[in-house]
Point group: C2
Chain length 257, copies 2
DNA sequence: CGCATAGTTGAGTGCTATCAAATTACGTGG
DNA sequence: CCACGTAATTTGATAGCACTCAACTATGCG
């Protein structure tokens, strides 16, 4: 638990200040340094309270593919992603693999009631995180009800997102799933202030495949199909240009009566 | 918002008193009457506070297939299921249907951050619910932090469950999904005090199919396969006897390293 | 008792996984 | 900066499994 004044993290600095609903009207703050500070400010804590939160936090750097936690480990820490991208992975004994989600800057790791981690969490790209002990977090939650409220909102948000994800997995074709994924990722980037039609995919095809319940080959073919339909353009393998969000959305939102 | 002294609900009376972790060591309470009372007691509220909660609640009865809320409606109420079974349904324009979950006694409806309902909620069997306005609920949450904590725990629980569900949808064969579903439903019944090898399925095959991302035919064939392998026995269409939980579990938990 | 609905079983097709190969991207060392 | 080797991605051919369509059976209700 070291005193914080965290060095500027590598990678993009998300201007979360703007995006956070709880932040409206409050003083500007340097959210690039540490998500803890952001969380505190957005929870309407005083400067003194914010400092107390920061005291409880440690920081962490991960290289690509480095493991943060392993399935089955005791959950003694919670984390806040500062920069980079991580994936949450469920492995089955026979090798089947499911990437249940990707974690971007501002995301919180620890919205679970389980005593052990249900998932591996691995860095996709070089990443930085803030770390709290569960114990400290519990104290902070008790001490600052705003934090608890904030966590509840986050949990709600994840639940809402998860319901969409479930529909995609259960009822959409490969191309639809990919379109859904690209739009969803793009929306998250937009919330982080990167609102461009050019989307950078930090993860490889196999991560995407395992996230969408498909094989690498099918994902690749789906990219090709979207490209052939002029819905996206590929600039290298990482950079996807969303040419027609309208029609991409139409692929996905066959729904909501 | 009528004063409550709710008539004994139809259907089974879940002895939730025992199951709730927050309840340990506290005085017994008649949880059969209304889940609100249960929630209050399990949140360690005083009798006066409990009464205040009950005052804010209304009750509701639903006939089979009756609609509680429709996709897109404003979310002005939250609910607690007292008896019966409900399903949450996502409909797509072209008719594709996903049953994202089933709600059993003790379940809470309203763990969402959205301003509108993302799902239809329909009664599978005759059901009874307690209803609160969101507004009242928010007040109660602010007034009794225990409630907020409880909701967070519930949200965590749902998130954890959802992650399992996602793996089933994305990576399991039809037979595995069905085995997973049966065990999961059985576990929920066990938590409600119905810990028997005989499982009653309140929902029809098409609901199960749409929950597991399959067709009715495939679900039916999967039942047959499980029966042929002596893992289950069917007594009529509704009653499933779990003959070998061990091997059923083995089908599912190919996983966790 | 007859009809309507729900569930099971069967046959055939299509889509996605699988297997295999070619191509591209990338990091390393010359 | 380029050549090389490795890994990642794309493309192609094939096969298996779940969906579709269809018929049949069981269940429930008037």
């Amino acid at each position: 638990m070291s005193r914080l004044r965290i060095a500027p993290p590598p990678g993009l600095l998300p201007p979360l200040t703007e995006a956070c609903p709880g932040h409206a009207g409050r003083q500007k703050v340097d959210c690039g340094t540490c998500q803890v500070r952001h969380l505190a400010v957005c929870s309407a804590l005083s400067p003194e309270e914010t400092e107390e939160m920061e005291r409880a936090a440690g920081q962490l750097q991960l290289a690509p593919n480095e493991l943060l936690v392993r399935q089955g480990q005791a959950r003694i820490h919670v984390y806040s992603v500062t920069s980079g991208t991580l994936r949450t992975v469920r492995l089955m004994a026979d090798g089947r693999r499911q990437v249940t989600g990707f974690l971007l800057p501002g995301d919180f790791i620890g919205l679970s009631g389980s005593a052990v981690h249900a998932l591996d969490i691995e860095a996709v790209t070089a990443s930085a995180l803030c770390r709290f002990s569960q114990q400290d977090m519990r104290q902070l939650r008790t001490r600052f009800p705003h934090i608890e409220r904030k966590m509840l909102e986050r949990a709600f948000g994840e639940l809402d997102a998860n319901r969409e994800y479930v529909v995609a997995l259960a009822r959409m074709s490969p191309v639809e799933r990919l379109a859904d994924f690209l739009l969803r990722l793009s929306a998250r980037h937009a919330r982080l202030g990167q609102d461009t039609p050019m989307l950078v995919l930090p993860m490889g095809r196999s991560d995407i495949a395992d996230h969408l319940g498909l094989t690498v080959e099918t994902v690749s073919r789906s990219f090709t199909k979207l490209r052939q339909q002029q819905l996206i353009a590929l600039h290298g393998v990482q950079n996807v240009e969303l040419l027609d969000r309208e029609r991409l959305g139409a692929l996905v939102h066959q729904g909501e009566a």
